[in-house]
């Protein structure tokens, strides 16, 4: 951050602190028109720009939602759309509601040749120019997701894949800060696989340690950046059982081993976990974190939104009122988890191997 002015650093830190407000989290609404369109069509609702606008308006303006939200991540299309409540552009509407607006710039995944399908995320070209535009349109932060998969047998993620992805994340962060956006860096290690929790911990530390070193080497102002990591879990098909507490402790262990104190918080992604599992794990982390100084919260998309789409099945049209009610109920769960106050129902948050796997392992 040595090249940034004191004023710029102060502003980045101010916005990062707002996003990391204790007890609040992020609603991730940044799916592109194609992706969100597929979700609509999947429940029998036609994809149109107006429907996408109305749906996002509900996510922002549902009564009571803003109490649990510090920020919202938008697709570039949404930055230019307006609220029908008062005609305000969505970024300004969100600011009025006390929710910091951010953007996911267009990115495209690319399989690195010779790496068994492992990818890098492409999007650095012209990123500065695009981010300047988004900033002018009211975005105050950006997010970039670099997905990785663990496949122990194939030696993935390999050192090359880790370095390539983490260096790109660091450069993205540097560019964002240069144009006045707080960068959220998202190293997303998938649930896919049968690796155990210890392996997940080791890989998460390796990936994250590479990321922070790369950020420091690039000159990123750490205090003006945020993390959006996956929750550390055993692979989906892991044959060993783990308790909720073990999983929460593994997450705290990873953070303690490499997450800089200077970064204000981590907003965990849901990545295929149910809302209940994700909330149970986040809540347990908060219960156990002691005086670890980071804010630990959520940045959820599918976990919050997929049940909302289900409400539209058979109706042929968005059910905004019903969706709004369910969304608020879900946000109350998310907010409770961010405060360490969500009580897991039944086995929520534990990893229980599928019966066939457990039998095979026995």
């Amino acid at each position: 951050g040595a090249h940034l002015s004191a004023a710029r650093k102060a502003e980045l830190e101010r916005v990062a602190s707002l996003i990391a407000t204790p007890g609040k989290g992020i609603t991730a609404c940044d799916e592109g028109p194609g992706t969100i369109g597929a979700r609509l069509e999947n429940v029998g609702v036609a994809n149109s720009e107006e429907r996408r606008r109305a749906y996002r308006q509900m996510l922002f303006e549902a009564p009571g939602a803003a109490e649990h939200l510090s920020a919202a991540i938008l697709d570039p299309e949404t930055l230019l759309q307006r609220s029908s409540t008062d005609g305000a552009l969505f970024p300004h509407k969100l600011q009025q509601l006390g929710v910091v607006p951010g953007v996911k710039p267009h990115l495209k995944v690319y399989a690195l040749p010779g790496q068994g399908g492992a990818t890098v995320m492409q999007g650095l070209d012209s990123l500065a120019a695009r981010c300047e535009e988004y900033a002018a349109q009211g975005a105050q932060f950006a997010k970039w997701r670099s997905p990785l998969e663990i496949d122990v047998a194939q030696g993935q993620p390999s050192d090359l894949v880790i370095r390539a992805n983490m260096h790109d994340l660091a450069r993205y962060a540097l560019i964002c800060q240069d144009v006045g956006l707080v960068p959220i860096v998202e190293p997303d290690i998938s649930l896919k696989g049968c690796h155990d929790l210890e392996t997940a911990v080791a890989v998460n530390v390796k990936v994250q340690a590479e990321l922070y070193k790369s950020m420091l080497d690039h000159g990123v102002y750490m205090e003006g950046s945020l993390l959006k990591p996956n929750i550390v879990n055993p692979g989906r098909d892991c044959a060993e059982a783990y308790s909720l507490r073990e999983i929460a402790e593994a997450n705290l262990a990873v953070l303690r081993r490499c997450f800089p104190i200077a970064m204000k918080g981590a907003n965990f992604l849901s990545g295929g976990q149910s809302l209940g599992d994700a909330a149970a794990r986040l809540s347990e982390m908060n219960k156990l974190k002691g005086d670890s100084p980071w804010n630990l919260s959520f940045s959820w998309s599918a976990a919050l939104q997929m049940p909302l789409f289900d409400l539209c099945r058979g109706h042929g049209e968005l059910q905004l009122e019903a969706m709004s009610e369910l969304y608020l109920a879900e946000l109350e769960i998310a907010g409770a988890a961010a405060r360490g106050e969500y009580e897991a129902q039944g086995d929520e948050g534990a990893h229980l191997p599928a019966p066939s796997l457990a039998a095979a392992a026995a």
Partner: protein, 353 residues
């Protein structure tokens, strides 16, 4: 992962040394270096005088109130009091952890501008085993980096980080908590911002190496320099030093490390205490215990009170307790100067020992 047998012991030793309100007495001056100290007080550098001086330190009544660990030179580890009690027995009884300097000094890196690597890996595992048997539970290895126009070089940073990681790995495999010491010298006329950049880079490279060599961070300690202007650079306040130092640590030191014990690096006794106080008083959260590992800054006045004379031992021990207490308070952000500590600069250019 470190050797499973020692895992719990490494963690508990590291935590014990990182006890709030306590710090480390660095008394590991090599024979040559202690000779320089003795020169300053006209004391002959013979084994008996070295033994007598270290006896003075080790037998100080109540030292364990402020000192959680003491770093010794190899010779001292095997020495006894005048009446035949091994030093290690006295320290064990006081509950002061015993540390041992294991590096064998610095050597030049070829074709660099006076940069160095630290040597000492040969037989290190066997030496650690021996020291552990004698009662040592932690070790120290000093890596040295310089600030200059194009210094430190990438080579020096990487090589010294690797040296520390290998030393740390070998220590943990043999039951000793490694103190990780990547010292950035204060020689030079640079401003504090340069020291921020360099210290940040060096500590980040160090932890990258520690991760690479699979060290158990919870069973290590960090002994860094404070972030200051160069010796002949523009002066700043203690508060600025406190903020700059804590900022760098928050960016680079993982929360899993139980304690950070600063080196004094030639600061006067008073400055070393006041700067430590400023770091602890700085208004930013920190998860590690932040304390001292002082050699010169604890012993300067002690040596001058002793002057090699038996009849001065009690007075010299009082001085040691006074400095230790002051630094204990500083490690809690509670130090108030009484104006009597030595303000004499203890800076020696291009320091090696």
């Amino acid at each position: 992962m470190a050797a499973t047998d020692f895992r719990q012991e490494l963690i508990s030793t590291a935590n014990a040394v990182a006890s709030p309100g306590k710090g480390i007495l660095a008394a590991d001056e090599s024979t040559g270096t202690i000779g320089k100290r003795f020169d300053g007080i006209n004391v002959e550098n013979i084994e008996e005088n070295r033994r007598a001086y270290r006896e003075l330190l080790v037998t100080t009544e109540g030292l364990e109130k402020y000192i959680s660990g003491i770093i010794l030179f190899e010779e001292t580890l095997y020495q006894k009091t005048a009446d035949g009690t091994p030093f290690v027995d006295i320290l064990k009884k006081k509950g002061i952890a015993i540390g041992i300097k294991v590096d064998l000094g610095v050597r030049p890196l070829r074709a660099t501008d006076g940069e160095t690597y630290t040597q000492g890996w040969d037989n290190l595992a066997d030496r650690c085993k021996k020291y552990y048997e004698q009662g040592a539970r932690f070790a120290k290895w000093r890596a040295v980096l310089k600030i200059g126009e194009a210094l430190p070089s990438e080579l020096a940073i990487e090589e010294n980080a690797r040296g520390l990681a290998m030393y740390g790995m070998i220590c943990q495999e043999n039951g000793l908590v490694p103190i990780i010491e990547p010292e950035v010298l204060s020689d030079g006329s640079h401003g504090i911002e340069k020291c921020v950049q360099v210290t940040q880079k060096v500590i980040a490279a160090t932890y990258k190496a520690l991760h690479r060599y699979n060290l158990l961070l919870e069973g290590t300690l960090l002994k860094p320099n404070m972030v200051t202007p160069g010796q002949s650079g523009p002066k700043v306040t203690h508060e600025e030093i406190g903020m700059a130092t804590l900022t760098v640590l928050r960016r680079t030191v993982p929360g899993a490390v139980p304690g950070i014990t600063f080196l004094s690096g030639g600061q006067s006794e008073e400055d070393a205490t006041r700067n430590l106080n400023a770091i602890n008083a700085a208004p930013m959260a920190r998860p590690w215990n932040v304390s001292f590992s002082y050699g010169r800054a604890l012993q300067h006045s002690v040596l001058r009170a002793w002057l090699g004379k038996k009849e001065n031992v009690a007075a010299a021990q009082e001085v040691l307790m006074k400095r230790a207490k002051a630094n204990s308070e500083a490690s809690q952000g509670k130090y108030v100067s009484d104006g009597k500590a030595s303000g004499e600069s203890l800076f020696v250019s291009n320091y090696s020992y």
